[in-house]
């Protein structure tokens, strides 16, 4: 029997929310273990890097445009551009290149 769709949605949201707050429930103070501290220091950068590549190349219609957006984004961020400028530069790179590729 098919579950009621709203019950299904509520359970999906609750299970997802639990994943977000488990650390908040169990952690009372910063962990002083040096390995764990170092591990958590690297986590954000590694996670976001893993999620960015190669996904950015696969997100666009033309992989070349995605690759160009990656390079343009890295250069812009390297030069100190903020969140919105880097995002816009990546979008424009794809838009302009795909005018020619297609």
């Amino acid at each position: 029997m098919q579950t009621n769709v709203y019950v299904y949605i509520a359970v999906m949201a609750f299970a997802t929310w639990l994943m977000r707050v488990v650390p908040s429930l169990v952690m009372k103070r910063p962990i002083s273990n040096q390995f764990f501290q170092s591990f958590l220091y690297y986590v954000p950068y590694v996670t976001l890097a893993v999620m960015t590549f190669p996904a950015i190349v696969e997100a666009t219609q033309s992989p070349v445009a995605g690759a160009a957006a990656l390079i343009a984004g890295i250069i812009a961020a390297w030069l100190g551009a903020g969140l919105l400028p880097v995002a816009v530069i990546c979008c424009l790179t794809v838009f302009i290149l795909e005018l020619f590729v297609h």
Binding site: T3, V5, Y6, Y8, I9, M12, A13, A15, W17, L18, M19, R20, V21, P23, S24, L25, K28, R29, P30, Q34, Q37, S38, F39, Y41, Y42, V43, P44, Y45, V46, T47, L48, A49, V50, M51, T52, F53, P54, A55, I56, A59, T60, A65, L70, G73, I74, A76, A77, W78, G80, A81, G82, L83, L84, P85, A87, V88, C90, C91, V94, E98
Partner: protein, 246 residues
């Protein structure tokens, strides 16, 4: 000392580009959700309360297979397990004595992108900042989902394609400046790119869902760098965020 109100406004402002990126991605999520039998209203509600891209996509797909709630819960735990790592990273930056309420609120705001900007912001994570970003970005996520369901292909494919890199651009703005400042972070980012690319090609590991590949690689690479390039204690708070500074 910045007022909570101005921190909240900062969060709202930084939530705008995230929301624009969300809108585009949610649009394609909506197109998929329609195929799985969800109405625009149902899509809107689930995006408002779940706000998890890969998780929702898999959840919608699973619904179409008449899955049980137990199966759904297990899938959500696995696919969203990276949020646990992110939650630990955020709580690590909150001093002892931080009220549980504050910890829960910051945790509740976790999405890939909001985690990114929260961790990039110097200082202790605050629900005012993350909450401002969440309140701004999530309605656009939900609206995009609903519009994707109700009018699938109204946006030209070229526009969707260009918008789809917006979120990745923001990730780059978060990780590249610290990578420039700290050679170990730079190396970790480079290694992550290479391993992530390899993981998509290699047999076995490429069979994992994207969420699980992300967790596996994050644990492996972060452990490797924690062992080879350990941080000296207490130097990591508030580090690494010129991307977001005013």
């Amino acid at each position: 000392m910045e007022s909570n109100r101005s921190i909240f406004m900062q969060g709202c402002r930084d939530g705008i580009p995230i929301g624009l990126g969300y809108f585009a991605v949610a649009f394609s999520l909506g197109i998929a959700a329609r195929d799985y039998g969800f109405s625009a209203f149902q899509g809107f509600v689930s995006s408002m309360i779940t706000y998890a891209s890969a998780g929702q996509y898999m959840g919608f797909a699973l619904y179409a297979t008449n899955a049980t709630l137990i199966e759904l819960i297990i899938l959500m735990f696995i696919i969203n397990a990276r949020y646990i790592l992110m939650g630990f990273a955020l709580n690590q930056r909150m001093p002892e004595g931080t009220p549980l309420r504050t910890r829960l609120l910051v945790g509740s705001c976790i999405t890939d992108e909001i985690f990114g900007i929260t961790i990039a912001r110097p200082g202790v994570p605050t629900p005012y900042y993350s909450g401002g970003a969440l309140i701004t970005a999530v309605p656009m996520w939900a609206l995009g989902t609903a519009l994707g369901i109700s009018m699938g292909n109204i946006l030209p494919a070229r526009i969707v394609s260009a918008l789809s890199v917006a979120l990745f651009g923001m990730f780059l703005a978060v990780i590249i400046p610290p990578a420039r400042k700290d050679r170990a972070v730079g190396l970790a980012v480079a290694v992550s790119f290479v391993c992530s690319y390899a993981a998509v090609r290699l047999p076995l590991i490429s069979g994992l869902s994207q969420g699980n590949r992300t967790i596996l690689l994050t644990i492996l690479i972060s452990s490797l760098f924690a062992a080879l390039a350990p941080r000296k204690s207490e130097q990591d708070t508030g580090k690494g965020g010129e991307s977001d500074a005013d």
